[in-house]
């Protein structure tokens, strides 16, 4: 291995690590606010990328039907829940809100499908459409069991992962797709060829991390989410609705995951079931951050990306083994240094 190869591998590792970092942020955020480990984050990633790929090929993406179906279901659930409590007017409003907005999005996407709009519009639509799946999943699956134990929530999240994988196979087919790159340009720094696309991945990841930090530190909604994650009961007493916080965090996480898909789509071929292994690596990163610290999770994810790149060079057959074995010393170290506090259940 000479320096130029090491530099290429480092570039590759950091690009992938940046994607894992975004996923890790989504995982940490959702876990902090709702105690759900967002196992289906990988599926949201692939759905985001495959939606963009469908737009690019001039099809109406399968996501349109997926979102429409979920929207109707969520609308009915909301209406029934409100109606049971006798809040008839709110039942109507809730159903209109939960079914109406996603349905409108889906209709707009269906209209956009065959028309070749500029890439930016397609990206925005893919993000919005996949983003809608987040709160819909929250509404349909997690809200009714929001107070269950972490273990129950985890198992349900695994179930959602399998359901979404199956739906993705149905809606997008078994074969993979690539999305168009934002830029196919590249330039040379010494012996190192740097592609603009990978720089874009890095820059947008950094931007997204900064935006999240601002959101949590400076805005009212961000502070509400943060408050819920610190103390659910206390937040409720202060007038923050945990249901609203859950839906908001799922929406943010889904958009983040879809964004990862859009970033990684031009670099690699994505399949209906690609997401899981990618999200697992984001999860390793999040674990390094103790599922609590955003900067540590981001650093951990970069580390995972680098380890992956270098082990693919030295021992390609054992790459995944090396990456996932990493979690054992990390867990050991975390269990030794962190102060344990039992969750009261």
């Amino acid at each position: 291995m000479d320096l130029s190869i090491a530099a290429l591998l480092a570039q590759d590792g950091i690009t992938n690590g940046a994607i894992y970092a975004l996923l890790a942020l989504a995982l940490v955020m959702v876990f902090a606010v709702t105690r759900v480990i967002l196992v289906p984050s990988g599926e949201l990633l692939t759905i985001g990328a495959l939606t963009l790929a469908a737009f690019d090929q001039g099809h109406v993406p399968g996501t349109v039907r997926l979102v429409a179906g979920a929207a109707v279901l969520a609308g009915v659930i909301e209406a029934v829940r409100r109606a049971r409590r006798g809040e008839w007017r709110r039942a109507l409003a809730g159903a209109a809100l939960w079914a109406g907005i996603p349905l409108a999005l889906a209709a707009l996407a269906a209209w956009m499908g065959p028309r070749k709009l500029p890439l930016a519009a397609e990206v925005a639509m893919a993000l919005a459409l996949t983003g809608a799946l987040g709160p819909l999943t929250w509404k349909i699956v997690f809200e009714p069991i929001a107070d269950a134990s972490v273990l129950v929530l985890l198992i349900v999240a695994v179930a959602v992962h399998f359901v979404l994988t199956g739906l993705a196979l149905y809606f997008f087919g078994a074969e993979g797709s690539r999305t168009p790159p934002f830029s196919s340009a590249s330039f040379d720094i010494g012996a190192l060829r740097v592609s603009v696309q990978s720089l874009l991945v890095l820059a947008t990841s950094a931007l997204a991390i900064a935006a999240l930090a601002l959101f949590f530190g400076r805005t009212l909604y961000g502070k509400a989410l943060h408050a819920t994650s610190v103390n659910r009961l206390g937040a409720r007493l202060c007038g923050i609705s945990p249901d609203f916080a859950g839906a908001l965090s799922f929406a943010l996480a889904a958009v983040l995951c879809a964004f990862c898909g859009v970033l990684i789509g031009p670099i690699t071929t994505l399949y209906y079931d690609s997401g899981f292994i990618i999200s697992l690596k984001g999860f390793v990163g999040a674990i390094i951050g103790g599922l609590a610290s955003y900067p540590l999770a981001a650093a951990g994810s970069l580390f995972v990306g680098l380890i992956e790149a270098f082990s693919s060079f030295w021992a390609s057959a054992y790459k995944e083994v090396i990456v996932f074995t990493l979690i054992i010393p990390v867990l050991l170290w975390r269990s030794l240094v962190t102060h344990h506090h039992e969750e009261d259940e």
């Binding site: 074969e175 993979g176 670099i267 690699t268 071929t269 060079f313």
Partner: protein
């Protein structure tokens, strides 16, 4: 009114009587979901094109999905045998599943036709394969085609990158054998996973070994990942793929980076370019037009399912002459019929013998080059 009732009753009795006369039951287990879904789905589509009766005898098709999972394939096979009383099993899509099913059908004594590639499924030295047949070309046949083509192109050293699973391993093993006879040396062998987001490390290592040609031992669209990386890193040698990439989705994903790639394939991929004298041209046209009318672009994997039926269509009438469906005698007669089958399929001419339960020869393979998103037959 009363008369109508009588007619209805008569029809019902007739229906009951014909049900009592045993139908032929064909049990199918294939991988329509899971990692092998892109192979299993065209196979499942193909079964929808197949007839519901033969020689006036009704056929019960029982088609199950094994989700590319070995355990599920075995469970499906047992279910097809005990609950559905299958006379013959077709499946599964992939090699590990098919290998696991061999023992089950050998114990139950009924014929099985696999749609998976490995030659081990019908290894004549294994007595358990007495009941087992398969339609796809063996890796050996295809690996040999690549070795011949490499030698003709003056290749002396080869690099290999393949799946870190049974498919990639068995291709590497086959290539080692075929290349030895051709006098070509393997200078680097790397592994990657179907879902890997990046293969930069492996590709850099391959290029550093300066091979004259690189073979990518992978199937479907995942095979495009190393190819695109090789082109992006400026590899100038020849790139070979296996017949696992012979579908339209691969062309779509690999795009212009696929230009000049060589691969062996079943003739049906490029049947329009075959000379009219080739006996396969007609059978390929029949299948591909039917398939493309209903399901879109052809997939060579669907062809394996079609060929399995072509073998049965020849063996079933012979077996019907000897015994009634649903009996052990019928199943044994069906096996004997398959072992003596001589059929022009879509992937080649099947000449079955007791020592060769695949029956394909050089007519079952052609070399194909990718040129501007099209498959071009190499003479």
């Amino acid at each position: 009114m009363k008369r109508g009732l009588n007619v209805a009753l008569a029809v019902a009795i007739a229906a009951a009587a014909s049900a009592a006369r045993a139908d032929i039951t064909i049990g199918v287990t294939l991988s329509a979901t899971g990692p092998a879904a892109s192979l299993g789905i065209p196979e499942r589509n193909t079964f929808e094109l197949l007839p519901q009766s033969i020689d006036g005898q009704k056929i019960n098709w029982v088609i199950l999905d094994d989700a590319s999972d070995t355990t599920k394939a075995v469970t499906n096979t047992r279910k097809l045998i005990t609950e559905d009383k299958a006379d013959v099993i077709i499946g599964s899509t992939v090699t590990p599943n098919s290998l696991a099913m061999v023992d089950v059908v050998a114990d139950a004594k009924l014929p099985m036709i696999s749609m998976a590639a490995s030659g081990r499924i019908v290894d004549p030295s294994n007595p358990r394969t007495y009941w087992v047949f398969k339609t796809p070309q063996s890796d050996t046949l295809m690996a040999d085609a690549i070795a011949v083509s490499m030698k003709a192109n003056g290749v002396r050293t080869m690099g290999y990158i393949g799946f870190a699973d049974a498919y990639g391993e068995s291709w590497l093993a086959e290539m080692r054998n075929s290349l030895k006879t051709a006098g070509i040396e393997i200078v680097a062998a790397e592994k990657y996973n179907r879902n890997d987001t990046s293969v930069t490390g492996q590709v850099l290592k391959l290029i550093a070994a300066h091979p004259d040609a690189i073979l990518i031992g992978a199937s479907g669209t995942p095979a495009a990942t190393p190819q695109k990386e090789l082109v992006a890193r400026g590899y100038k040698g020849k790139i070979y793929q296996t017949h696992g990439v012979a579908n339209a989705d691969f062309l779509r994903v690999v795009g212009k980076d696929g230009n000049g790639t060589l691969l062996p394939s079943g003739p049906m991929l490029v049947y329009e370019q075959l000379p009219d004298s080739n006996p396969l041209k007609k059978s390929d046209a029949t299948y591909v037009t039917q398939y493309e009318k209903r399901f879109g672009t052809r997939s060579t994997f669907g062809g394996h399912a079609w060929d399995a039926w072509q073998l049965l269509a020849q063996a079933i009438p012979k077996a019907l002459a000897k015994a009634k469906p649903g009996t052990p005698e019928f199943r044994a007669a069906l096996r004997d019929g398959l072992e003596t089958a001589n059929v022009v399929g879509v992937h080649g001419v099947f000449v079955m013998t007791p020592h060769d339960h695949n029956g394909l020869d050089n007519r079952g393979r052609v070399m194909v080059k990718i040129e501007d998103g099209k498959w071009v037959l190499q003479k």
